[in-house]
């Protein structure tokens, strides 16, 4: 191609939709073309799931149902937190390695860089969750509600993931380095474990139970669980699925409402 670049004619820059799509594509290509990343994103969650299912499955008994049916909703709902550590790390890495500087110097809306990170990582999260769900079905997980409820449960998990992405993006922006971001990511452990995800909250000491019952993850886990357990849900959880779904959605919106503006403000300030 003999087209010469004409200097001094730089264009007006891409709009929000195109710049977001372009930067999202880059983030996804990085996953797909980096074997360590895509293998990790695919098998990590399902591998841990298998460990929980077969190690704790024998020891933990939930009245009226098999442990695998109890575990899967909790596992995938809290899995979004562990995936989020990768988001914080990637964001910090882009800052550290000058990629964000390049994007900031371009005539594009600044928010597109953050939206692209959230979009790409939510897509990876959906893939990882779907793969884990497939593995779960293979080792005995059953939907007790309708298929539609099952899909809604999947949709909820992805939505929770999207909300938490903004928390992790903020973390990555503040961390200063990829290593620090990974360290900050450790904050997910108390939220994931002190919840109803792996064991019933009623089995915890009362001081721990107070936290477990009122933190967002428990509502999210129980919303997903209520949608997959069908008729068993009411007996186990004491409320219909709508009770948990509505509360988990309020939490989701609250998380986005706080984390997104903080992330954008931090990014703008540089």
């Amino acid at each position: 191609m003999a087209t010469d670049v004409v200097y001094g004619t730089a264009g007006g820059g891409a709009g929000l939709a195109r710049s977001t799509a372009t930067v999202t594509r880059r983030a996804l290509l990085r996953y797909v073309r980096t074997p360590q990343l895509i293998v990790l994103a695919t098998v990590q969650m399902s591998l841990f799931f298998l460990i929980y299912r077969y190690m704790f499955g024998g020891a933990i008994h939930i009245a009226g149902m098999s442990y695998v049916d109890y575990l899967v909703p909790g596992f995938v709902a809290t899995g979004v937190l562990f995936m989020g550590i990768g988001t914080a790390t990637a964001m910090a890495e882009d800052l550290e390695q000058g990629f964000v500087d390049r994007l900031r110097s371009l005539p594009i809306p600044r928010s597109s860089v953050l939206i692209a990170r959230a979009a790409a990582d939510t897509a990876i999260l959906a893939w990882s969750t779907a793969f884990t769900a497939a593995v779960a079905f293979a080792v005995g997980f059953t939907l007790h509600g309708s298929a539609l409820e099952g899909l809604a449960a999947f949709g909820l998990v992805v939505l929770f993931g999207f909300a938490f992405e903004w928390v992790f993006i903020t973390m990555g922006l503040f961390a200063g380095s990829a290593q620090a971001a990974q360290g900050m990511g450790m904050i997910v452990f108390p939220f994931a474990f002190v919840s109803s995800a792996y064991v019933p909250v009623s089995s915890m000491p009362s001081w721990l139970r107070v936290f477990a019952e009122h933190q967002p993850l428990t509502y999210m886990v129980d919303a997903v669980r209520a949608l997959t357990l069908g008729p068993h849900a009411q007996a186990l959880l004491g409320h219909p699925s709508s009770y948990f779904v509505s509360r988990s959605l309020v939490w989701t919106l609250a998380i986005i409402a706080v984390a997104l503006p903080v992330a954008v403000a931090k990014y703008r300030r540089g």
């Binding site: 191609m1 264009g11 500087d101 371009l106 540089g270």
Partner: protein
């Protein structure tokens, strides 16, 4: 001709550290301007301010005629930035990297493909254009990064220490690439710690230290101020040192410096050649044996010493020069 960059009293602080301390700098359009200074002088802060990545605390900054503080979006359309790291995506090919940036500049898919192709050709990366950038050598990464900064056809290219960390051959290749750009009509502002880099590329050099401009002029003008080159002779015998110093002293500016421990005598000269030949003949006739003869450019320390009368102080710059 209007100035491409005009900074007046530019100030930027990080807590107690003053990175830019009332910097005045004018870069005329149509040329390459090198900002030369030791580590911590404020070079990178200045480039980041011009690139609208940082907001100055005080002072005015016009880039391509627009106020960088009030109209950053307009400034971003006129500039291309290549920072200290090669900010390319290793999991994409060279071509994809360039097309991505071109798309972000608002080019259509076809136009982006065309400009990516043209830039690959210009930087000699056509053969490697379809390989993933993570397989590139350090020098190729820098060239691709340079390409990414110019695929949007900017009026002003900002290069922050473009050759730091490159081996000598890659360095010269990058210099050639930059020079071709300039021939094609792009203005360039680059920062560097190397006098020879500024000398090779720039028509105007601004020397900065501790956030202010210390000296400015063409490389030739600055060299006149600091005394061109340095001649160094190593004598074989201690006894010859005074005679060597005396002979060299007649060549250049001021007395020759003697370093007895290495038996080295050095002096600044305006233009090397013939005067040096004459001095060597004199030494030869006096039966003085020499181990080594060298002529070199003054290093940044010596430039500072002659311009400011004081050596570079802070420990940061010591480490940078050792590296």
């Amino acid at each position: 001709m209007t100035a491409m960059i005009e900074a007046r009293g530019l100030t930027k602080r990080y807590g107690k550290t003053v990175a830019l301390d009332g910097l005045d700098l004018t870069a005329e359009a149509g040329q390459v301007v090198a900002v030369l200074g030791p580590n911590g002088a404020g070079k990178t802060t200045f480039v980041r301010t011009v690139a609208t990545l940082l907001r100055p605390d005080a002072g005015t900054l016009l880039v391509a005629g627009h106020d960088a503080r009030k109209q950053p979006a307009v400034v971003r359309r006129a500039i291309g930035l290549a920072g200290q790291f090669a900010a390319i995506e290793p999991a994409m090919t060279g071509r994809e990297n360039l097309e991505m940036v071109a798309r972000l500049f608002g080019q259509s898919r076809r136009a982006a493909r065309a400009s990516a192709g043209a830039v690959l050709e210009q930087l000699g990366l056509v053969d490697d254009g379809d390989r993933l950038a993570r397989t590139y050598s350090g020098g190729m990464r820098r060239r691709l990064d340079l390409g990414a900064s110019l695929v949007g056809a900017p009026r002003l290219l900002l290069l922050d220490e473009p050759t730091t960390g490159l081996d000598p051959r890659s360095r010269i290749e990058l210099w050639d690439a930059i020079r071709e750009l300039v021939d094609a009509g792009t203005d360039v502002l680059l920062t560097t710690q190397y006098l020879d880099e500024a000398d090779h590329l720039a028509s105007q050099v601004v020397i900065i230290d501790r956030g202010t401009s210390v000296a400015t002029g063409s490389p030739a003008e600055l060299k006149r101020q600091i005394g061109g080159s340095i001649v160094e002779l190593h004598a074989r015998r201690d006894a010859d040192l005074p005679k060597v110093a005396e002979t060299l002293g007649r060549l250049g500016h001021g007395d020759a410096q003697i370093d007895a421990s290495t038996r080295q005598v050095s002096v600044r000269v305006d233009s090397g050649g013939e005067a040096l030949m004459a001095a060597l003949r004199t030494l030869h006739d006096s039966d003085i044996e020499l181990e080594d003869i060298a002529m070199r450019q003054p290093n940044l320390d010596e430039v500072f010493l002659s311009l400011t009368g004081q050596p570079i102080e802070d420990s940061g710059s010591m480490a940078a020069r050792a590296a």
